[in-house]
């Protein structure tokens, strides 16, 4: 195992390059790196022989900030990690602190949380689909994707007033009651989405250029995916049927029926298919959830000042990009002693080097897109 998976990139100053080899720099201000990712590529002709990701341009010290805020004060900060899926971040953090305190959100809050989180998954996947297709050269999907994403953001806005960094949930439950037409809005959106996803698939799934650019590109075997700690759609496209919503259910996921889509080849095309199917499943969960939102309180009975008993907890959720984990240590005071965030993008990005070797420079863009990274989360 001391092979390419753990090796270091050669030092530029001291490496002796072959006649056809060059080292090029990509990013951090490159539109296809989805933020401020910088990649150093060692090329042999047009083929990538080695790569190194340089990250940290967006590091804000979120984990350090957590140690100087109360538990509630820190909650809005987590929205700013994966800023295209803020609701999922908030869910993970709130549930982790709830677990630490030994309280549980009321059933009504859990169901509303599930609905919003699944909508967020769809929104995140739509953004991924639009930008990923744009990177590869399909200009149309992004307009369609943003049209549908807008509907989701409108639902968020109606629910809590914010569109992106929503801070939709609170520790112990919800701040806001569901607005009157939430069910109707979600139902209309979910019903529409079905044929909209078909539309996207018509544009791409059998498109010769799309297939040519994605099939066999960035292959990650199941064994490698597990060794590299990949989670989420990246892991599932490699054929590992594992989803935290099923394996270790949280929120209200144990009440709903849905499938875990998996791929076979672990290439960019399979990851595309997995995410498309995930959107359909999320839509299915939403439709089931709105059928029966239990009545009752939306907030558990907790004090205004949170003082979880000393101890620690690890809680993770299936965020749109993979396993998002929170490891929270309490010393019994009002501020967390330590909050560790296990970001899915950071760990998934580590497999980039393995996926990119042997491919052409043009495929690098496709592979960055297919991992679905958000640099706010990679760098924290």
């Amino acid at each position: 195992m001391s092979d390419t998976r753990t090796a270091a990139f050669p030092n530029v100053e001291t490496t002796v390059l072959g006649a056809d080899e060059i080292i090029i720099n990509m990013g951090p201000q490159h539109p296809s790196t989805h933020g401020v990712l910088r990649v150093k590529l060692k090329l042999d002709g047009e083929k990538v022989v080695d790569s190194e990701c340089i990250i940290g341009y967006l590091h804000r010290g979120v984990e350090k900030i957590a140690e100087h805020r109360s538990y509630q004060q820190f909650a809005p900060y987590v929205d700013r990690m994966d800023y295209v899926a803020a609701v999922s971040n908030g869910l993970g953090y709130c549930e982790a602190v709830e677990k630490l305190m030994g309280v549980e959100a009321p059933p009504r809050a859990k169901v509303i949380r599930t609905i919003l989180t699944e909508l967020q998954r769809i929104a995140s996947h739509l953004l991924w689909l639009g930008t990923h297709a744009l990177d590869i050269g399909a200009l149309t999907p992004i307009f369609y994707c943003f049209r549908e994403r807008e509907e989701i953001l409108k639902i968020f806005e109606k629910y809590c007033g914010a569109r992106l960094t929503t801070h939709a949930f609170r520790i112990g439950g919800l701040q806001y009651e569901a607005y009157d037409e939430l069910e109707k809005d979600v139902e209309r959106f979910s019903k529409d989405l079905e044929h909209k996803i078909d539309e996207y698939e018509q544009l791409l799934t059998e498109n010769r250029i799309w297939v040519g650019r994605t099939k066999g590109i960035g292959v990650l075997t199941a064994e490698d995916a597990i060794a590299m700690g990949a989670t989420g759609p990246v892991l599932r496209a490699s054929g590992v049927k594992w989803d935290i919503r099923k394996a270790l259910p949280y929120a209200a996921y144990d009440q709903y029926e849905f499938e875990i889509p998996t791929g076979k080849n672990g290439d960019t095309y399979d990851r595309y298919l997995v995410r498309m199917e995930e959107m359909r499943q999320s839509r299915r969960i939403c439709l089931q959830a709105i059928q029966n939102i239990p009545a009752g309180p939306i907030m558990a009975r907790i004090g205004k000042v949170l003082k979880p008993p000393a101890g620690e907890v690890y809680h993770s959720i299936e965020a749109p990009k993979g396993e998002l984990g929170y490891y929270v240590v309490s010393d019994g005071s009002t501020q967390p002693y330590r909050v560790r965030i296990r970001p899915p993008s950071f760990v998934n990005l580590q497999a980039f080097d393995l996926m990119v070797r042997g491919h052409l420079v043009a495929d690098v863009v496709a592979i960055i897109g297919t991992i679905d990274i958000v640099l706010g989360e990679v760098d924290r």
């Binding site: 195992m1 998976r5 990250i55 000393a310 101890g311 010393d331 560790r340 950071f346």
Partner: protein
């Protein structure tokens, strides 16, 4: 035993300010005593590694093992191969500056087959290095680099131990409890970032 209980929090004020030491936290509404963990897994581990398994307890229904730092890699390999904890979810650390061995290096493991999590902890003193588990789980590569970056813990046997999130020239390790924004090197900020530090 579980360290959190006796550890008074370092105040956020700059170190050295004569903040009155908080009185030792009085036993409030009986802090939950961690229950010792005694299951088949711990028995097997103890039979095989003896004293290297220091403590085992359950906190919020989650299994925690404290193991000897020196034998961390052997235990990791055994857990991966024999006990099927094939997935390393996370590597991180916690700083307890008042303790003799101030760092907890924390490994979160998961087993697909058992659908179970396990948390491994190894204590490390300030200058002590911890065996790297990159050859057991390659995913530890970046995670250990982050721990090195944020805490300054060195991992022995790591193929590429350098900073990952902060610039290479950065001074200090931010997630240590004694690191403070006021102690940052203003000259460095001026020179490298081209801005006047605002403090």
């Amino acid at each position: 035993m579980a360290p959190p209980a006796g550890e008074p929090r370092t105040p956020a004020a700059p170190a050295g300010a004569a903040a009155p030491p908080r009185p030792p936290a009085p036993p409030k509404e009986s802090p939950p005593k961690p229950e010792p963990l005694e299951n088949e897994l711990v028995k097997r581990l103890k039979a095989r590694f003896g004293d290297a398994i220091r403590e085992a307890w359950v906190d919020r229904k989650q299994a925690i093992l404290v193991v000897s730092t020196k034998r961390l890699r052997d235990i990791a390999r055994y857990l991966r191969d024999e006990e099927k904890f094939d997935f390393l979810t996370d590597v991180t650390a916690v700083d307890w500056p008042k303790r003799e061995q101030r760092f907890d290096v924390v490994l979160n493991l998961y087993s697909f087959r058992k659908n179970e999590r396990l948390r491994l902890k190894a204590h490390a003193a300030e200058a002590e290095s911890v065996p790297s588990v990159t050859d057991v789980w390659p995913t530890a590569n970046w995670l250990e680099r982050e721990v090195f970056d944020m805490f300054g813990i060195r991992f022995e046997g790591h193929p590429n131990l350098k900073r990952i999130l902060l610039p290479d020239e950065w001074q200090g390790h931010p997630l240590r409890k004694d690191y403070d924004i006021l102690t940052q090197d203003e000259a460095w900020v001026r020179e490298n970032l081209g801005i006047q530090s605002g403090q």
